[in-house]
């Protein structure tokens, strides 16, 4: 008699392999049990040359769980396929119900995976992706239309405006954005002044650093910084908030209560962003110019007074205001995409994360593309 890791005692009779289960056949011993059962010797053929039988005695088995019962069944099936019928004896009463339940469950046929057709599937995937992109573009445009009509409705009938929500979102997207936006704008101003000063000093044209700073910050850089920070901060928050509500079926609940998610969730967010974005842009511009002025003073000894006087020469009314024209448009794009992606969330927590990433990437992309478009537009109409 051999003892194999205390799980199975093997003896051989004429034409029959006698196995006695011992110890516990459970999840914790499953790896050893698998090895032990695999290593069980095949029974010798009997006198008549018939394939041998296996007798498995479960009388001394201390503990059995689902995994043990499953391995028992796999052993039975495998031996039977090799023409060695298995006779299981001495099943303890407390194990009967378990074996019964597991074996019945194990009989359920697994669903066969779909047969694969690689080439066909690849072509189909390309087609599906193109269709999806086209459809998404159409849907985004129709969502844009819906947002515009909802905004118009609110403007026509200001009573429908959710004032509390509007103020709340203005606070969160505007006021609370000031520290980080201020810090980054200041640093950008400093860096621009530093780089400009280095180059212009070689030409002896230090004072033109003011022109450089004034034009680039007021026309392009201030608004871009603001838009990128707002997209990363507030656009993503919109998607995550609305997306989580979607997962919890809160959006469905709103609809059944006769409340319009567009009016309740989208309009206050988009409107709040459109109202605070010009203010944020103005603030970012001023702080960046201040950063530039500080750096000019340190590096080039240009006093604040000189800085302001010099700045009035190249800067006209339009230079100072184009950013304010762009700001509400960018705000509309960022807010709209944030809410749109949030409403597209489906089911899972993972989808919230994916949509949030998408919303930030898409809105920054669109902001930069629109900014280029504005540049062309403004230069053709000479402002």
């Amino acid at each position: 008699m051999t003892v194999e890791q205390g799980l199975l005692n093997v003896t051989s009779e004429e034409g029959t392999l006698v196995l006695a289960a011992a110890g516990s056949w459970t999840l914790t011993t499953a790896a050893a049990l698998t090895r032990t059962l695999d290593a069980a010797p095949p029974p010798l053929p009997d006198d008549n040359g018939q394939p041998g039988r296996i007798r498995l005695d479960l009388g001394q088995l201390d503990a059995l769980d689902t995994v043990g019962a499953l391995l028992l069944r796999q052993f039975r099936d495998r031996s039977r396929d090799q023409n060695h019928p298995v006779l299981i004896i001495n099943v303890r009463p407390e194990h009967i119900a378990l074996i019964d339940a597991v074996w019945r469950a194990a009989e359920a046929e697994p669903v066969p995976p779909e047969p694969g057709r690689p080439l066909y599937e690849a072509v189909e995937a390309v087609g599906q992706a193109s269709l999806k992109t086209a459809r998404a573009a159409v849907e985004l445009i129709s969502f844009f239309g819906q947002v515009c009509t909802a905004l118009l409705r609110v403007v026509m009938n200001p009573r429908r405006l959710r004032l509390t929500a509007l103020v709340y979102h203005m606070d969160h997207t505007g006021l609370r954005c000031l520290p980080i936006l201020g810090l980054l704008s200041f640093l950008i101003g400093v860096v621009l002044a530093y780089q400009g000063a280095e180059q212009l000093r070689r030409l002896g044209a230090e004072i033109y650093v003011v022109n450089l700073l004034g034009l680039s910050i007021l026309r392009e850089i201030g608004i871009l910084i603001t838009a990128i920070i707002v997209a990363g901060r507030s656009g993503s928050a919109f998607t995550a908030q609305i997306g989580t509500m979607k997962v919890n079926q809160e959006i469905d609940a709103l609809r059944t209560l006769g409340l319009d998610p567009m009016e309740l969730l989208v309009v206050p967010r988009v409107l709040a962003l459109m109202l605070v974005m010009p203010l944020l842009t103005f603030y970012a511009n001023m702080v960046a110019l201040f950063g530039g002025a500080v750096m000019s003073y340190i590096l080039l000894d240009i006093s604040f007074h000189q800085f302001i006087t010099q700045m009035r020469i190249p800067i006209d009314f339009w230079d100072a205001t184009v950013a304010m024209i762009k700001a509400p448009v960018f705000a509309l794009v960022i807010g709209m995409i944030g809410c749109y992606e949030g409403l597209l969330v489906s089911g899972s927590a993972e989808s919230v994360g994916r949509r949030t990433t998408k919303s930030v990437v898409e809105s920054i992309f669109l902001v930069i593309v629109l900014n280029a478009f504005f540049s062309v537009l403004f230069s053709t109409i000479h402002i």
Partner: protein
């Protein structure tokens, strides 16, 4: 006693009557969950004030109580998700309050929890949900894990096609079953269920009760079950604990009907309570 079972090509046929006539219940030599003087509170709002309970090995304990009386909080305290303000909770001989690190993880692998709303991982399919604890806590080969997941799905009465579905594609009752399958993944000794039959149709609820009863018999589980379902209480619970006025009172369906406390009397002696008791006996 032992019985001969001959396994042939036909499905295993075990004399059910014999299995039932010799129940595998031990004579409660020990209690697997001991709670002593439990006090829990949230920001001054006391939920439990001196709760004592012993859950015996192999029993099904039903916990009832008004909505908001702290049943879910009790369950969360037992699994260690909430730190009580006072009292001791001992699970399988380990004090939850002092257990840390790998010993705590090892203990958690011996208890299975089904939360009130399923709490399935929404980005994984049902089969992947069941694989999670198996992959984390065992070193079984992947093929065996797949097989175990398949068996658990069938054991809780889900169709095989549910395996590849995501939780958001399942009905409420199917999510409950999938949650149960995940709770059973590691063959725990203790199963804690929070309102497993809430939101199921009566036939589905009865089938779920039967499922829990048969799993409890077959796997030798101890079940701690929060429920409002009087039919479940009558059908499968050995004892019933009532959470009332921040305290816990333990008894059987019959003994609790004799209680003088108005809430308990109304609960068990109302029309529905009596009907369930009659049906159960």
């Amino acid at each position: 006693m032992t019985i001969d079972v001959t396994i042939t090509d036909t499905p295993l046929s075990i004399p059910r009557s014999e299995a039932v006539s010799t129940p595998a219940l031990p004579a409660w030599p020990d209690s697997v969950i001991q709670v002593r003087g439990l006090v829990t509170q949230f920001a001054g709002h006391v939920v439990h004030d001196g709760v004592d309970i012993d859950v015996r090995r192999g029993e099904v304990l039903g916990v009832v109580g008004a909505s908001g009386s702290g049943k879910s909080v009790l369950l969360r305290a037992i699994v260690g998700l909430i730190r009580p303000s006072a009292g001791r909770i001992v699970v399988l001989g380990h004090d939850i309050g002092t257990l840390t690190g790998s010993r705590r993880i090892a203990l958690q692998a011996r208890t299975g929890v089904l939360f009130q709303d399923g709490a399935l991982f929404s980005s994984l399919t049902v089969a992947e949900n069941i694989r999670v604890p198996l992959v984390e806590h065992t070193d079984l080969p992947s093929s065996l894990i797949d097989e175990v997941a398949r068996v658990k799905i069938a054991m809780v009465g889900l169709p095989p096609s549910a395996a590849a579905k995501y939780p958001s594609q399942l009905s409420g009752g199917m999510r409950k079953r999938a949650g149960l399958a995940r709770a059973l993944a590691l063959d725990p000794e203790i199963l804690l269920l929070d309102e497993p039959t809430a939101g199921l149709d009566p036939i589905g609820a009865a089938a779920f009760d039967q499922l829990i009863g048969s799993l409890q018999h077959g796997l030798g589980l101890t079940v701690f079950m929060v429920t409002h379902d009087l039919d479940s209480l009558a059908a499968i619970c050995d004892r019933i604990a009532v959470l009332n006025d921040r305290k816990l009172l333990v008894g059987t369906l019959e003994s609790l009907q004799q209680e003088t406390n108005p809430w308990i009397r109304d609960y068990f002696s109302g029309r529905r309570g009596r009907a369930a008791l009659q049906a159960g006996s």
